[in-house]
């Protein structure tokens, strides 16, 4: 269970930016892929604990799921995959380990009351 330390990292990144911006942060927007190594539900509940002890206690966490996209060498095109359990091009069936997106774990925006 490393979601608590991930949640604290999210708050640190957001707090750093909030300091620059000024104002009260009411939401942190996060982008997360299925290969980020983080479980969404676990992160959301860990975040509820973490925010209590943070200067950003008013900020909700909003998570946007990033699709899993890999490059298929046979089709020479990006393909969206259903599941990280089967990295296979849905069109031609070739195994595709060149992941283009799906590993993301990033803070993309803050909603700030001004």
């Amino acid at each position: 269970m490393h979601e608590l330390s991930i949640a604290l990292n999210v708050l640190d990144v957001a707090a750093e930016e909030a300091e620059r911006q000024g104002g009260r942060v009411i939401a942190i927007h996060l982008r997360m892929g299925p290969l980020s190594g983080v479980v969404k539900e676990a992160l959301l509940s860990a975040y509820e604990l973490a925010r209590e002890i943070s200067p950003l206690a008013d900020a909700d966490l909003v998570i946007e799921d990033v699709p899993l996209v890999a490059h298929c060498a046979s089709c020479d095109t990006p393909c969206t995959l259903e599941s990280p359990q089967e990295l296979r091009c849905p069109v031609c069936g070739t195994g595709t380990s060149r992941v283009i997106s799906g590993r993301e774990l990033e803070v993309v925006a803050l909603e700030i009351e001004s």
Partner: protein, 228 residues
């Protein structure tokens, strides 16, 4: 009415602090010509046993050292120290994975330029280590024949971040009716094209292949390293 809000774009990786340290480590390893290998698996899959054997076999030919992550004990470090190479324990406490900063501290006082291989045994866990870059050149994921052929399907992320898979305790394959083709299919499903070796730290099966692979990879690595 709610007060007005504005949306400020940020775009920061959540683990950027770890990634910055990991990148610095990777550069240090490259400059020193030391090939760093991390090992991840469930608890008990055989990381320490494999390392014991690897360190003893490499010791005559190479300068090797190991860092070992563990939640609470230094038992693994004591086992590895019997191979008479430098070994350090990183006690992670409540943290269920190694982070780049822990590796950095663990290396303090070691002259990397004198090393050929550095092995890093991660905390036994197939989930949390996946997100943390340690600056390693090679990430090896291990799972034993006793864990079930579908282990990779249950933990696709860690397998996806790995560069090599080792199926361990192959000496027990018969006893547990291990279905090797099914295991290889599971690995190929989550990480198409990844190299896989079947090894036993007990019987020594597959050890030559594994050691040969490491030597080759290190040679390739050094061709891209600055001359010292």
């Amino acid at each position: 009415m709610n007060p007005p809000t504005r949306l400020v774009e940020v775009r920061q990786r959540v683990l950027k602090q770890n990634d910055i340290v990991a990148r610095a480590l990777r550069e240090r390893f490259r400059a020193a010509g030391v090939y760093a290998i991390s090992l991840v698996s469930s608890p008990g899959a055989g990381k320490t046993a494999l390392l014991e054997r690897t360190l003893s076999l490499f010791r005559a030919e190479f300068q090797v050292a190991a860092l070992v992550g563990d939640l609470a004990t230094d038992n693994d470090a004591q086992r590895l120290a019997r191979s008479q190479v430098p070994v350090r324990q990183i006690i992670t406490g409540t943290v269920c994975h190694l982070e780049a900063g822990m590796v950095e501290s663990g290396l303090e006082g070691w002259d990397l330029a004198n090393l050929d291989f550095l092995f890093i045994e991660n905390v036994g866990n197939l989930v949390c280590p996946a997100s943390y870059d340690l600056g390693e050149a090679l990430r090896v994921v291990l799972f034993s024949v006793t864990e079930g052929e579908d282990k990779p399907l249950k933990y696709p992320t860690i397998f996806n971040t790995a560069d090599l898979a080792l199926i361990t305790k192959i000496d027990l394959a018969g006893a547990v009716e291990f279905d090797a083709p099914a295991a290889h299919r599971s690995i190929a499903a989550v990480r198409p094209g990844m190299m896989v070796f079947e090894v036993s730290a007990k019987s020594g099966a597959g050890m030559d292949e594994w050691l040969q692979f490491l030597k080759t990879r290190r040679r390739e690595f050094q061709q891209f390293a600055p001359a010292t």
